[in-house]
């Protein structure tokens, strides 16, 4: 048993070196050998178009590799890569002249999850004169997609995430929202209800912070009326 672990680690080390080196050189991983030549040609064509358009190309190769592992047939993989390429283009239109691969892929993912482009545009542009910081927007988008995966409607999820973004929520706060909503859903609360409750409490917390980040002293809430 121990011997096999050592062998596996050696293989792992070797296996990990090769792809990272390839990636380090070109920035883009090679397409999986399992794909038929015609499929690889199709995907390479899509990647070329993306490259010419100034869109990130690595996500397309990543998507192909993901499809291979997940056992999808070639046709399905090409379709997925084509869809992603299109969504990356749409993301760029939506975000304006942005080249940040993280933002583009996160936005493409939100489009794929069913968020309406105008809602996304509003989220990305922020309030008048105050677009959100790129890191925060990325966190918001990743949280947004996760909430939708939990069966929360795209409209509610986008609105919720927007509220936090406006209040300059940090990564930790986006994470907390995600985890709390998840807990509630497991406990049997309906997804949309869980979301509105948790967003409200997060927003209140954020509102209670002074610009300096120190909490404001508040009187304790009145005890619930006896029944």
């Amino acid at each position: 048993m121990i011997r096999s672990i050592v062998v596996v680690v050696a293989i792992a080390a070797a296996g990990l070196l090769a792809p990272s080196r390839a990636r380090a050189q070109t920035g883009v991983p090679p397409l999986p050998a399992r794909l038929a030549p015609a499929t690889r040609a199709d995907i390479a064509r899509l990647m070329d178009s993306a490259r010419v358009a100034g869109l990130p190309v690595a996500p397309l190769a990543d998507k192909a590799a993901e499809g291979v592992l997940k056992g999808a047939d070639d046709a399905r993989i090409v379709a997925a890569v084509r869809t992603l390429a299109r969504e990356l283009g749409d993301a760029r239109l939506l975000l304006g002249d942005v080249h940040d691969a993280v933002l583009l892929t996160a936005t493409a993912s939100a489009l794929h999850a069913g968020v309406a482009p105008p809602d996304l545009r509003r989220l990305a542009r922020g309030r008048a004169g105050e677009p959100p910081d790129a890191h925060a927007l990325a966190s918001a988008l990743v949280t947004l997609v996760d909430l939708i995966a939990k069966q929360i409607s795209p409209v509610s999820a986008t609105s919720a995430v927007g509220e936090l973004l406006e209040r300059r929520a940090t990564d930790a706060q986006f994470t907390a929202l995600r985890v709390e909503v998840d807990q509630d859903i497991r406990a049997g609360v309906a997804p949309d209800a869980a979301l509105s409750k948790r967003v409200r409490s997060q927003a209140e917390t954020l509102d209670a912070l002074t610009p300096g980040g120190r909490p404001v002293k508040r009187p304790p809430p009145p005890p619930p009326a006896p029944r």
Partner: protein, 195 residues
């Protein structure tokens, strides 16, 4: 009301002999065995081999997923694994992949954990290793349930998942990737650049 399990006599007479299994040709049998010997065990195959009334086999066994989720929540949100990819353990090299440190320029070590009680093999797959199920095997910790691996990642957004005894499972403590075209769940990690 016909008995579902019994054929009418004339059909039974015709169909009965069909139940005898044919003897496969020896050359064909040998060929199959030879082909099997030449391929690697443990490659994943598509969900299309299990199309059926059963729910998709891609997610970890439901009890396991719940247990994993609970474990991660007990450990604290983002405690065991930096959900938004906050770089962790700066300066803590992983002894299992020493060769990577040479290429660690511009990368921060990120630790991935998952609870997989009873699992024999767990590995990490994702955009950072071309979804290769043997490239990043994870190590089981002393508690017998938690598996972990730490890898250096350049800033970016990565989709990933765990392979638990040949089955794909998403990270229950991490944000989910958008429902994708492949019908199997994945997770997302954001690795921040140094500020």
């Amino acid at each position: 009301m016909r008995d579902d399990d019994v054929l009418p006599p004339e059909l039974e007479r015709a169909v009965g002999p069909l139940r005898e299994a044919p003897r496969p040709r020896r050359e064909w049998l040998d060929h199959v065995v030879e082909q099997a010997a030449g391929q690697r065990l443990g490659e994943l195959i598509g969900d299309d081999d299990w199309r059926g009334a059963r729910s998709r086999r891609w997610s970890a066994h439901p009890a396991m997923a719940i247990a994993a989720g609970l474990l991660c929540m007990v450990a604290g949100a983002g405690g065991t694994y930096a959900v938004m990819g906050r770089a962790r353990g700066a300066g803590r090299p992983s002894p299992d992949v020493p060769a990577l440190q040479a290429e660690a320029v511009g990368r921060a070590p990120v630790r991935f954990t998952v609870a997989a009680p009873g699992a024999v093999n767990v590995s990490l797959v994702g955009d950072f290793n071309e979804w290769n199920p043997v490239a990043l095997p994870m190590t089981r910790l002393g508690d017998g349930t938690t598996w972990e691996v730490e890898i250096p990642l350049a800033p970016g957004r990565y989709t990933y998942a765990f392979v638990v005894d040949g089955r794909l499972a998403r990270d229950p403590s991490a944000p989910q990737a958008a429902r994708d075209d492949f019908g199997a769940p994945s997770s997302v990690v954001l690795v921040r650049g140094a500020l």
